[in-house]
Structures are given as structure tokens and as C-alpha cells.
């Protein structure tokens, strides 16, 4: 306990990781989001990790029902939500138990003591009360009767029902956290007033709870230290906070506007991809046409129909949905139509871990279809990269007249970071060409499967164009005319043309960049959302004098043209990925270089330390048999 009268000290720190944890009914996602928003507005770099159960309301008080939200704020450039929270706000025993494993040694814990009842301890499978035994002795524990203090603050509000009183507990906790981190309440108060404008008693309760939490910190002096995280040195510009889902939606609308095309987005709800549909459904004023299909097959079919009609067509889903779409994706491959398919990956197989992250659909999207079925595959590295990669996906789809996959994942989709608003003026338009009857006046014949010598794409002739009536289908075809053909040579040629077309995109995708020295003992190759953890692990190793570099693949099919050369300049290759080594297998097969795989399938992103440790482990092994 702080000594009364002694001034509270403000300590400036570079970064802090805070985890809000409670029951899924406790509003922890909202609490975390509000804290993040204020941090972002102040100018901190931020990275967040929502971590919530698949059930909407798992039994209250149980471990299964714990909902967590981790936020990392910093005055320096950061790339992950942080390995270990420094501060844990635990609203009940289950939240404490579920989150303790990750807490940094010596970390701060704020617990809501009111919830540490015998019943709740039992639900959390505690044999004895951790606040009373010595199991928490390595942490700084602050016990706060949050439920009681909150009730005292709000119970006399007129119109607030008994049931509603405890609802504002999360705002009490938030207020206290704001005090600890020297933050203003204004932004959250403005949000409360807007969000609940029709329910004045709720506005009042939340506002009072927030203020009471803040005042509690200020007056009780339970805490001797407050922390300040200074604004980060981000490049100048106007910023907002963005999640991967938002960025994908905005990228789609941007791509369609850059091409002056309507966007038709067809999808069937599935976690964690539904947010893209939610976002796009509210952007109808951009002439976005969303279609909630009866299943994923229908969503893919509708996207193909829309592409045939000349729209910018896309569909989004997660792994199980990709499985259903496979046959239709192959139709798009055979029809050679541009469709963007977003796969927000989650833990599998089957329904797996709907709300947890995994990268295990790589081989599915590369090879999980019948026949020779090459498609373009891209993977965004950060929430804001989701925006750029989505635009790139449309660019390549139109150029190659091919379906293009965007392999996002649940972590990218849900986590947030600051995003500098792009300038629409500086973006390159996406050129789309639809053949016209005039193009074929000088005796040249319209061939539905004729190929552009430069892109190898076929002409995108759309219904409504006189004289270019033609039929396309999934049956084997004659090159050029596209007429049905079962001739052996025709089939071989069509298979080869489609493969060459996708492979030729290597000419327009950027070379792989190496982060660090161009040669060295070890190259860590990543793809997708592992970017942040890999980058920081490699930077730490570099600071420790190791000859380690990183390279991040945003293009998985085709691979960047220089990938083989880059790999060959390093003695060893390490590929951390959230699957059992799928990219490692592709690289090894393609470049015949031995790969060290670091697989992780726990439904959680990599920690920096896990990769950092693996780097040391590999470097300590000596070169051994390599090259023998």
C-alpha cells in the first residue's frame, strides 16, 4: 500500500502490454478496445490481440468462458501484441487462472476481489484461493473490490435496474487503468455518450463507473507508480486504428473504385471472416453489392457469375468454407475469370478452433482441388497490409484473368494497429479492358480463349457486348476457341497455358527483400501474420551480433523470382509458421535447400522469444552435414 501523502511517481516507459481478462459477459473486448483507442489517439504505436471463446456465452465464471484482450502500446515501432503482459486486469478467478501463464515475472495483477467467492473459485478449478495462498508471490497484486465500488458509484441512478448495476464494472476497471497510464477519459466518455444516447441511465452509469475507477486510483494511493508511454515516432500523416477485416473491406472498395467497377462481395457468415461482410454491407453508398449466400458454394458461384458480368467480384470465408468452395474455385480456374477469394484462416481441421489463429490452409489453397489447378496466392503481413494486398489481389486477378487467394488469418483480421490514411490521388488506377466489337473489324476473330501476348490472360468479354456472344464452361477445351474438346493435345496445352499464365505473374511482382544483411548464417523466412514476431526476433538477434536476416513472403504463388537466390546466400533457413511446416515443405521441394521448420499450432500467435530461442538453437548447432 502506498503511504498517504507521498506523491505518486510517474515513470516513463517505452512500452507496456496490458491484458484485460474477464468472463465473456464482462465486456472485456470493449474495455480493451476503448483503452486502445485512447492510446492510439495519443499517438502510441499499438498492436492488439483479442482472444475470446467460440461460445457466445460459455457458462459464467468458467475457464472456457474467459475472454481476453491484450494491447501493446509503445513509443517505438512495434509489430506484435507483446509476448507477455506486464499488467493483468482479472475480473474473476477464471480470468486470473487462464491468463497467469503468460504474465511477465514480476508483473502487476489487478483483481476484482468481490468475485473471488467459493463458487467462482470452484468454477475456475482453484483448490485454494490464490489471493490467500502464496501462489502469486512473484507478482505485484492489487486487490480491488471492483464490484462493490462500482455498485456504490452507480446504484442510486434512477431507472437503472438491479441487473444493470454490475454491467458497468468493466468501465470501473477501465477508469482505473486510465489513471494508471495517465490517460484522459474524454475519448471514452464521448464514445459512451454517443453509443448509449437513447439510454441516459446507462450513459450515466458507465460514466460514473469510469470516473470512479479513475478517482479510486487517484485518491486511494494503492498504486505508487503511474506510467507514461510517450507518443511513437510514426511518420507524419493522419492516422486511424484499423483491423485486418476493416482493411480488407476498404481494400476491396478501393480496388473497385480504382477500376471504376462495382464491387460484388458474396459470402456466407463464418468466424473469423464475417466481419468483412459486415463492413462491406455498410458501404452501399460506394455501390457495393453484398450477397449473403445460402452457403459457401453459392457464394463462390455468385462471385463467378458477377465476374462473368464484368464486376469486381470477391468472396471471403475461412478454411471450412474454402473446402466447400473448392469445386467452384476450379470452375473459376477453368473459366479464367478474375475473382478474389479471402481465406481468413483459423484452427483446423474440421470446425477446429473457430476463434483462434492458424496458417494451416496454405496447402489447401495451393493444391486442395482436383486436377491441375494453379491459382495466385498472396498473404498480408499486418492488419494494414491487408489493405494493400487486397488491392494487389484485384490487380493480379484482372491481369492474369485468374482467381486470386488472399490468405489472411484470425489474428490479422481481429487485431488492430495504427494506419496512415492513404492518399487516393497517389494510387495507380487498375486498368481493365473489355473487348468491343470494333476490336475485331479488320478480319481478326474474337477468340474467347485467345491470349494477350503480354499477360497471357484471355479477353474479358462481358454479356451485353454485341457480336462477342460466347460460351464458357468447365469441360476440357480447345485452345483459342474454348470449344469443348477432349483431344489429348488440346488438354495438355490448356493445362500448360493456365499454369504459364499464373507463373508469368512473377514478372510483375516485386523481388523479395532481405531485412538485414544479404548473406549470413541464417535466414528466417515467414509469411502472413508471423511477420511482426519474426521481424522483432531477428532484430534482437542482430542486436546480439548474430548473422541473421529475415525475409517475408507476401507472394506465395508465384514466389518472387529471386527467392531461390536469396535463400542460397544463407547457410541455413528457418521457417516459423502456425502449421506443421507447410511453407517449409513447399520451399524445400522447390529450391532443394534444407529447411528448419518451426511449427506452432496452439491457436496463438508466435511469441518473439519462441523464434528468438529457435534462432539461437539453430546457430548453436554448427554447420554439420550441410553441404556434405
Amino acid at each position: 500500500m502506498a503511504e498517504p501523502g507521498k506523491p505518486v511517481q510517474i515513470k516513463v516507459v517505452d512500452d507496456v502490454v496490458i491484458r484485460f481478462a474477464g468472463d465473456s459477459g464482462d465486456g472485456m473486448q470493449l474495455t480493451g478496445t476503448q483503452f486502445t483507442n485512447t492510446a492510439a489517439i495519443i499517438g502510441n504505436d499499438i498492436s492488439t490481440l483479442p482472444d475470446y471463446p467460440a461460445e457466445i456465452r460459455a457458462p459464467a465464471g468458467t475457464l472456457a468462458g474467459v475472454s481476453g484482450f491484450q494491447v501493446h502500446l509503445a513509443s517505438a515501432d512495434i509489430h506484435t501484441p507483446g509476448d507477455e503482459p506486464h499488467v493483468l486486469i482479472a475480473m474473476n478467478p477464471a480470468a486470473l487462472k487462464a491468463s497467469l501463464r503468460n504474465l511477465a515475472p514480476g508483473g502487476t495483477i489487478i483483481v476484482n476481489t468481490d468475485e473471488f467467492t467459493r463458487g467462482n473459485l470452484r468454477k475456475a478449478e482453484y483448490e485454494s484461493n490464490p489471493l490467500e495462498d502464496d501462489s502469486l508471490q512473484n507478482y505485484m497484486v492489487h486487490t480491488v473490490p471492483i464490484t462493490t465500488l462500482n455498485r456504490n458509484a452507480v446504484e442510486d441512478i434512477e431507472g437503472l435496474f438491479a441487473k444493470g448495476i454490475n454491467r458497468s464494472r468493466n468501465f470501473f476497471a477501465l477508469g482505473l487503468t486510465f489513471w494508471m497510464y495517465d490517460r484522459s477519459l474524454d475519448n471514452t466518455i464521448a464514445w459512451i455518450e454517443k453509443k448509449f444516447q437513447k439510454r441516459p441511465e446507462i450513459v450515466e452509469a458507465n460514466r460514473r463507473a469510469l470516473q470512479a475507477g479513475y478517482n479510486y486510483g487517484n485518491t486511494t494511493r494503492t498504486f505508487q507508480i503511474r506510467y507514461r508511454v510517450k507518443p511513437a515516432h510514426l511518420p507524419p500523416g493522419i492516422y486511424r486504428k484499423i483491423t485486418g477485416s476493416e482493411a480488407i473491406a476498404l481494400g476491396m472498395v478501393t480496388a473497385s473504385e480504382l477500376a471504376d467497377k462495382p464491387l460484388v462481395y458474396c459470402s456466407y457468415p463464418i468466424t473469423p471472416a464475417s466481419d468483412i461482410l459486415h463492413n462491406l454491407a455498410s458501404l452501399k453508398h460506394f455501390d457495393v453489392r453484398t450477397f449473403q449466400a445460402e452457403d459457401e458454394i453459392a457464394a463462390m458461384g455468385a462471385a463467378i457469375g458477377a465476374a462473368f458480368g464484368g464486376a469486381f467480384a470477391a468472396t471471403g470465408t475461412s478454411g471450412p468454407g474454402v473446402a466447400l468452395k473448392s469445386e467452384a474455385i476450379n470452375l473459376a480456374v477453368a473459366l479464367e475469370l478474375p475473382v478474389v477469394i479471402v481465406d481468413v484462416q483459423r484452427g483446423g481441421p474440421s470446425t477446429g478452433l473457430p476463434t483462434k489463429v492458424e496458417q494451416s490452409d496454405l496447402l489447401q489453397v495451393m493444391y486442395g482441388r482436383n486436377g491441375e489447378s494453379p491459382v495466385v496466392v498472396l498473404a498480408p503481413s499486418t492488419p494494414s497490409d491487408c489493405f494493400d494486398i487486397t488491392i494487389e489481389a484485384f490487380r493480379l486477378a484482372v491481369r492474369g484473368m485468374s482467381p486470386v487467394f488472399v490468405l489472411a488469418d484470425g489474428y490479422l483480421a481481429n487485431s488492430a494497429e495504427p494506419w496512415a490514411l492513404p492518399d487516393p490521388e497517389s494510387m495507380e488506377p487498375i486498368a481493365v479492358k473489355h473487348p468491343k466489337p470494333e476490336d475485331f473489324q479488320n478480319g481478326s476473330k474474337f477468340l474467347p480463349y485467345g491470349r494477350d501476348p503480354e499477360t497471357m490472360g484471355r479477353p474479358w468479354a462481358i454479356p451485353g457486348t454485341p457480336q462477342l456472344e460466347h460460351r464458357v464452361g468447365g469441360l476440357g477445351k480447345q485452345p483459342g476457341t474454348g470449344n469443348v474438346s477432349h483431344m489429348p493435345e488440346d488438354h495438355q496445352q490448356m493445362v500448360a497455358e493456365r499454369a504459364a499464365k499464373v507463373a508469368s505473374l512473377v514478372d510483375v511482382i516485386p523481388d523479395l527483400k532481405v531485412i538485414g544483411e544479404d548473406t549470413g548464417d541464417l535466414l528466417v523466412i515467414g509469411w502472413g501474420s508471423t511477420y511482426g514476431a519474426i521481424l522483432q526476433a531477428v532484430q534482437r538477434a542482430q542486436r546480439d551480433g548474430k548473422r541473421v536476416s529475415a525475409a517475408h513472403l507476401r507472394y506465395l504463388n508465384p514466389f518472387p523470382g529471386n527467392l531461390g537466390d536469396v535463400m542460397a546466400r544463407f547457410d541455413r533457413i528457418l521457417v516459423p509458421e502456425m502449421n506443421m511446416g507447410q511453407l517449409a515443405m513447399l520451399l524445400q521441394a522447390r529450391y532443394l535447400q534444407e529447411i528448419n521448420s518451426l511449427p506452432k499450432v496452439q491457436g496463438q500467435p508466435f511469441k518473439i522469444s519462441e523464434i528468438r530461442n529457435k534462432i539461437d538453437e539453430i546457430l548453436s548447432q554448427g554447420l554439420g552435414t550441410v553441404g556434405d
Binding site: D182, L185, H285, F308, G473, L475, V484
Partner: protein, 354 residues
Amino acid sequence: MSDTIKLNRKDFRSDQTVRWCPGCGDYAILAQVQKVLPDIGVPKENIVFISGIGCSSRFPYYMNTYGIHSIHGRAPTLAAGLKLANPDLTVFVITGDGDGLSIGGNHLLHACRRNVDINILLFNNRIYGLTKGQYSPTSLPGTRTKTSPMGSLEQAFNPISVALAAEATFVARTIDREQRHMGEILRRAAAHRGTSFVEILTNCLIFNDGTFSDVTDREIRDDNRLRLEQGQPMIFGQDNDKGIRMSGCFEPEVVSLDDVDAEDILVHNDKLEGSQLAYMLSRMTRPDFPVPFGVFRDVDHLTYEEGVFQQVERAQAARGVGELKDLYVASDTWMVDDDRNGHNGHKGAIHDED
């Protein structure tokens, strides 16, 4: 332009050889569609045929319009997406009883319910033709095929009942052998705004020859079929001497005109909002009843794509036509200054007394 020159049926023939078995009922449908299309007032570049997989689904290849031969059962999904891209197109979905009611049953239901402005022509031959003669969801119970050597065990779907239950706004039945009737039905289907569902009974002479002989054999057909005509009493029979009367609890019965008053005979009305009459008619099958042919239901509802575009317009009226620079702005934005100090968005002072 093609819409000023009167087209004829030859304009709709593609250069591909038709490859159905000689005598297949699908030829008659192709011929009738090619005959009707010049009359519906749509330039051929605005017409798209989309099919699934099956003998019937080869249809688009033979039409000199835009077309997609898609995958098994999924044609309605492509059609819906196409109409969202370009609502001005006239879209026909060609499907079979297996394609549309087995693997694609779900999509068929949802296409009807959404009321997308498309025309679904379901070629019902009560068999899987392309895969060489297995029983289908419309095969009569007891049908003997390679997969049901002792007779099929499943109750058959009645496609008209299915379409009505799925809220289709236009539902009709015709048959390959009746060219003029088919022509009339196709014209009405094309004129209908919203999903038109047309069941066309068609003979697969290789695997299911004669499955519709009740209603095609000259000697007996007039006693076995009922022509549904708007506003006309439901009278049928070789000598027009039988009629349909409603008895008891919404049960139809076949009566002899000699025994009842003319006004007791049911009068057909396909414009009823409720689909009870249409549904009752759809349940009438052989041998107890004549098979109804004609339009069961034809009502006018907002189409799906009209709804979509109305919402786009409403959103644009309320929020202005979207501009990219506004797209990116969220409720909380902040400015990072050139001095790289990043502090501008800081709202309000932090209360701090220490």
C-alpha cells in the same frame, strides 16, 4: 444493332453440333426456346444461359448467346451473381431433375425465395441421363435402375410443390411434346419479373422412355391432363366432360360434368397472392387426378436485385455517393505532425494533481 433487326430462330443457333441422343426430348425444348427468343424483345447479346451439369445442361453450348456451362447444381448461384453485376441481362438457368433438385436443391430453393429476376427451366426426365440412368429425386418410387435394381425406395419430389414452397413468384409446367404450349409458357416466364420456375417434362428415351406416356399417348392423354387457363373452369377429358371441384376440407375431386352444376367447377386463378390453390393443384397427380399443365402462380413482387439497387440508391441519397478519401476516415483519427512528435489528436487535459 441487333435490337432493330428482327432476329429469327437461326440467329440463336450456335456453330456447335447438338449431341443429345437422337429422339431426346431436349431437342424439342432447344427448338422452342430458339423459336421464342426472337419474340421477347431482348437483343441476343443481353441474353445469358447458365447451366449446371447433365445432358440438359449442355444446352448453353447450342445457343448463340452468352453462356456458362457451370458445375453440378450451382447454376442458380452464378445467375444471382451475374444479375448483381448487370441487372439488365435476361438470364436463363438450365437445370435437370438431378442437377436442380438433388445436388443443387438448396440453391434452387434460395433462388426462388430471393426472387432474383431469372428464368429457371428444369428439364425433368425423372432420371440421371448423363451418368447413364440412375434414379433421380423425381423418379417414381419403385423405379428400377442400376442403382435401384429392386426398385427405388424414396418418395419423389414434386418440383412444382417445391418451387411453390420456396416462394417462387412464377411457377409453371409444360412438356416437350407440346410445342405450342411450351412456347406460351416460355413467353410468359420471360415476361415475368422475378424468378420464373418452369418444369418441362422431357423424355429420356434411352434410360426412362415413356415415363410420361400417361400424358403423351394420343389415346389417353386428354383424360390424364388438365390445362390451367387463367379465369377458365378446370375442365378436361377427351370429351371435355370432367372437371375439378373442391370438396370438404380443401380436397379436390374429379367430377363428371353431367352430375354437377357448371358453377361448382373450380376456376383457375394464378394471380392469387396466397399459393394455396396453386399448391393444391401441384399435388394432383396420376392416377387419381389429371396432371395440371400451365401456370400455377404468377404474382408480382419486388425482385432481389431491385431491392439491392434501391438500397444502394438510398445509401447514396443519405450519405452521398461514396468517395475514397471519406472511406478511410474513421470515428477516431489523429494527426502525426511533421515534427514527428505525434501529439495532435490529444483531446482534453489529463487530470493530474501530483
